[in-house]
């Protein structure tokens, strides 16, 4: 269980970007003397992933999540540092390595547009050296898990986005890879389809003990799937650890809305030393530190006549949103 399946050490990647002045003069100048700038998009990152883990990569657009993912599956050649994925150097793209991994990109499709998905599955099966019998067995198993059936026999162009995504997943998983790389897998799907996809990934992870690395903009994907998150900011890792811990660190307080039975009680409560956010008549909102929440609530319940009480967890989306926009924070 505790074996490291992905091992990244001091990984850096810089891209050469040619800069060109606008206009014809700039074009001519560019033609004779190419001016290139080297931009470091990934700066000296290191991390490990254990077998069977689900890791979420968080970060704003352009933070470098996709670049990391693509380096892990061998599509981008690293500039410095070392990567090992299940014992292989990814960028060599050795056959046995490729048979071990899969990449799923939301809204990028590999299925043949004019044909039913089943045709693409058998094509992929032959590419991955599976015989027809084995392919049939796997298609049956995966389509049961994904809850698709007759859609497999309808041309892809006539499928809905959700059905198409399920078929894409099936095509990407037919060789039973034990490492899954997902880049924005839920992009453009509706809430229902998103939920189904997450449910499936969870089930797949449980049943096959496959390792899953995913990036997503939907916080729900991360919070419901990943116990561990890696936050990427400007090409560096700003946080790597448990999701709960991250949330606790980022939001050390809770909001509590108390409905008192009378206005006097509310007034009394307002003046008893709590951090009051706002108050209207008999309703009062106070902010309590996570550490003292139980003791504070006990005192309130004992001393005041309370009609109702709501504990507002600050929405996770908002917190993670904060990570994405905040430029300089340290955890």
């Amino acid at each position: 269980m505790d074996k490291n399946i992905i091992d990244v050490k001091n990984l850096s990647k810089s891209f050469n970007i040619s800069s060109k002045e606008p206009g014809i003069k700039g074009t001519i100048k560019h033609f004779f003397k190419r001016q290139t700038k080297s931009i470091k998009v990934i700066k000296d990152i290191s991390f490990e992933v254990k077998e069977g883990e689900i890791v979420g990569f968080l970060g704003a657009n352009g933070a470098g999540k996709t670049t990391i993912l693509k380096m892990l599956c061998g599509l981008i050649y690293p500039s410095q540092g070392s990567i090992s994925v299940s014992g292989y150097l990814p960028f060599r793209r050795k056959e046995n390595f490729l048979k071990n991994i899969t990449l799923i990109m939301g809204q990028k499709q590999q299925l043949i547009w004019d044909l039913p998905p089943i045709e693409s599955f058998y094509l992929n099966a032959s590419i991955y050296d599976l015989d027809n019998f084995e392919a049939k067995k796997r298609i049956k198993k995966l389509s049961d898990m994904l809850e698709i059936g007759e859609e497999l026999f309808i041309p892809v162009r006539k499928l809905s986005l959700g059905q198409r995504m399920k078929s894409e997943l099936l095509a990407a998983l037919i060789h039973e890879p034990n490492i899954l790389f997902l880049d924005e897998p839920t992009l453009g799907l509706d809430i229902n389809a998103q939920r189904n996809l997450r449910k499936f990934l969870q089930k797949y992870n449980k049943e096959t003990n496959a390792t899953i690395c995913l990036t997503s903009h939907y916080m729900k994907d991360i919070t419901s799937l990943c116990k561990r998150v890696i936050c990427v900011h400007n090409g560096s890792i700003s946080y790597d650890g448990k999701l709960d811990l991250l949330l606790k660190k980022l939001s050390p307080v809770k909001e509590i809305l108390i409905v008192c039975s009378s206005d006097e009680d509310a007034n009394q409560l307002e003046n008893s030393g709590f951090n009051v956010k706002n108050k209207t008549k008999n309703e009062i909102t106070i902010i309590i530190d996570n550490n003292s929440i139980t003791s504070s609530l006990k005192t309130i319940l004992n001393n005041f006549d309370i009609e109702d009480l709501y504990i507002n967890e600050p929405p996770i989306d908002e917190i993670i949103g904060k990570i994405l926009i905040k430029k300089d924070y340290d955890i």
């Binding site: 056959e95 032959s126 590419i127 041309p155």
Partner: protein, 264 residues
């Protein structure tokens, strides 16, 4: 083991692309009519050239027809394999799905140059083949085994050169996404292949044998059919074909290195 896998995958390619093309049946018919009209048109043009002359560049009308038939066969091959796959590569790169191809445990050049097939081109190949048979009859060519083997070798070499030219252009899509216009340039050059090389002026002849080896593609096989070709020309074509295949392969691998170190 390896070849068996590739054969199996190719069978699947055939199956899937035929099935997708059959979704547009009228298209196949229209393409066939286009191929027939195009052949009639070029024979018409040839007949204009020959209406007051007996020979052009030393080729008589019946002999020039052989070039037409070989051109039609090669054009059919281009339309069956090279052109649809080039379209597919452009799509792969524009939509970023080349990544899927590169992550498959199969040779990417194999995948990318043989995935698609347009069946109407096969009809064009047959059309060219019938014309070739007719030409063999009217030119009273004796078919012997060694002769046929020689013809086959030169035609295969032509196909290899043609494939490499198309694949070169396909590869450049990795840098410039819009290669359509470059293929138009190549197409207009290939158009020259309908006529005997000797009918052009000396400078053009040099250009079309050294820079863009169109000359090798149709003229040499036709000369072989007429028994006019010298052995050194055939050898030269084999060498040129091998050099082209080799460089197109190297160029593709180089482009892939570039792709994987520069794309984001």
């Amino acid at each position: 083991m390896k070849t068996r896998k590739y054969l199996k995958v190719y069978r699947k390619f055939l199956h899937t692309s035929l099935a997708s093309e059959l979704e547009y049946k009228t298209n196949i018919l229209i393409d066939l009519i286009t191929a027939i009209l195009s052949l009639i048109g070029s024979i018409f043009l040839l007949s204009i050239f020959f209406q007051n002359n007996n020979s052009i560049g030393g080729w008589e009308f019946e002999q020039a027809l052989i070039i037409q038939s070989i051109y039609t066969i090669l054009n059919g091959i281009t339309n069956t394999w090279f052109n649809p796959n080039l379209t597919e590569i452009v799509k792969h790169i524009r939509e970023g799905t080349l990544d899927f191809v590169l992550l498959k445990p199969i040779d990417s050049q194999f995948f990318i140059s043989l995935k698609k097939l347009t069946p109407s081109g096969i009809l064009e190949i047959m059309l060219g083949f019938f014309l070739l048979l007719y030409c063999i009859k009217i030119n009273q060519i004796n078919l012997t085994l060694s002769f046929l083997i020689l013809c086959l070798i030169t035609i295969i070499c032509s196909i290899c050169i043609l494939y490499s030219l198309w694949f070169f252009i396909s590869t450049t899509t990795i840098w410039f996404v819009k290669t359509w216009n470059a293929t138009e340039v190549l197409r207009s050059f290939l158009y020259i292949g309908r006529f005997p090389l000797n009918s052009f002026s000396f400078t053009l002849r040099i250009f079309f044998s050294v820079f863009v080896p169109i000359a090798f593609i149709t003229t040499i096989p036709s000369e072989v059919f007429l028994g006019l070709s010298e052995i050194w020309k055939i050898l030269l074509e084999v060498i040129v074909a091998m050099v082209f295949l080799f460089t197109s392969r190297r160029f593709w691998l180089f482009a892939l290195r570039f792709y994987s170190s520069a794309s984001s």
